[in-house]
Amino acid sequence: MGNESDVRDRLMTILSGMLEKPPEYTPGADIFEDFGLDSLDQIEFLYSIEQAFGVKIADETFEEQGLREFDRLVAHLVEHQRLAS
């Protein structure tokens, strides 16, 4: 637990379950624009992150810190786990 690869895999698992198919990742991909999540999916997605990683991300934080971008979200979660360990 805690390394970037593990976080990526777990996020992809969450997204695959929600989208019913693995999202097509490209560097800089936006979870909404590129993966196809909608505003209601955001609610479920952030809840799933909370359940999986123990991190509660507020809607405002999600927007303000650019966490819609998959890579930035991974970095955010990796940093959270580093600080928690």
């Binding site: 909608d38 505003s39 209601l40 609610i43 479920e44 952030l46 809840y47 809607d59």
Partner: protein
């Protein structure tokens, strides 16, 4: 045992279609119909009040029972968070307009989406305590009066409706045991700021809905409450014929149904043509169930969840077992 005899409902004439909202507010095609699950919402007229809607519901009821004068009603409760006036209670206005007797107890109950279940159970408790043999339970909560037309979070979801339920000492749909919950720490999840004494200087009235708060309510509180209600009534979920859930949104209902392992056939929905009608959503479903020409279900579980945050579940039974 106190039970529900009948339910009558009213839908306003005005309609707001999802196609119009899609054009006006830029929703993605299909989002409103598929994810939110609403094609059309009914909207009260600008000059149509909460009591108007409740009275219309009662007129539907009276059409079914033209010989009944309802002069023996001993209790009238009205569930709304958008009353005609802050004072007096809207139940009093409605009671006057429909000719209810003076020698009865009547008041408003301020609850939103959990309101029908809570008001029905409250009515049963009062009927039991006071020896009242007939009661009316109204729901009428026109959210169109408080929603901002360009608020994408809310305008697509809610519709207006009203209902009246007749409860009697030997009503056929016996009201059994219930479960409740209230989490005031999340009171801001569904709130009309600037609407009461907690108003900040310069604050304007504004309905705000936190989708995350409601989502978490349905994930964390609703399923155990529903299971506990079944258990309290000596039932498993499999033994319950029909689940009438508050119609929050198609997406939330699907999640709740999946979390409980319930088939679609046992969880009817009407949100497509009326939207989320707040405390009227469950009685709208019950009205359909009672008047669809089929046999009455033996066991029904009703569950509502929403602003407060508050949630409530109750079992209704038509069979001989208690």
């Amino acid at each position: 045992m106190i039970g529900i005899r009948d339910v009558a409902c009213y839908l306003p004439e005005g309609k707001l279609h999802s196609a119009e909202l899609q054009t006006r507010l830029g929703f993605k095609p299909g989002f409103l119909e598929n994810k939110v699950g609403v094609e059309t919402r009914r909207i009260a007229a600008a000059d149509e009040s909460t009591s108007d809607m409740a009275v219309h519901a009662f007129e539907r009821l009276r059409e079914r029972y033209p010989q009944e004068d309802f002069g023996d009603v001993g209790l009238a409760l009205l569930c709304t968070q958008n009353p005609d006036y802050k004072m007096p209670h809207t139940a009093s206005v409605v009671g006057h307009r429909i000719g209810l007797p003076k020698n009865m107890l009547s008041f408003d109950i301020s609850l939103a989406c959990s309101g029908y279940v809570s008001t029905v159970v409250t009515a049963k408790a009062l009927m039991t305590e006071l020896g009242v043999r007939k009661a009316l339970v109204f729901t009428a909560d026109p959210y169109s009066k408080i929603i901002k037309p360009n608020d994408k979070n809310t305008i697509a979801l809610f519709g207006d409706a009203a209902s009246v339920s007749v409860l009697e000492a030997d009503g056929p749909l016996r009201i059994c045991k219930s479960t409740f919950g209230n989490d005031g720490s999340k009171y801001q999840a569904a709130i009309v700021r600037g609407s009461g004494t907690a108003r900040q200087n310069g604050e304007m009235e504004q309905f705000e809905l936190d989708g995350r708060g409601i989502y978490e309510l349905l994930k964390t509180e609703a399923p155990p409450s529903i299971r506990a209600c079944a258990t309290m009534n000596g039932l498993t979920l499999d033994e319950i014929d029909l689940f009438l859930f508050h119609q929050a949104s198609a997406w939330l209902l699907l999640g709740l149904r999946e979390d409980l392992g319930l088939s679609e056939e046992r969880v009817p929905s009407n949100i497509k043509h009326v939207g989320n009608t707040v405390s009227s959503s469950i009685p709208l479903l019950l009205d359909q169930v009672l008047h669809n020409g089929g046999p009455l279900p033996r066991i029904i579980l009703m569950s509502g969840f929403g602003a407060g945050l508050a949630w409530a579940s109750v079992v209704l039974r038509t069979d001989a077992r208690q």
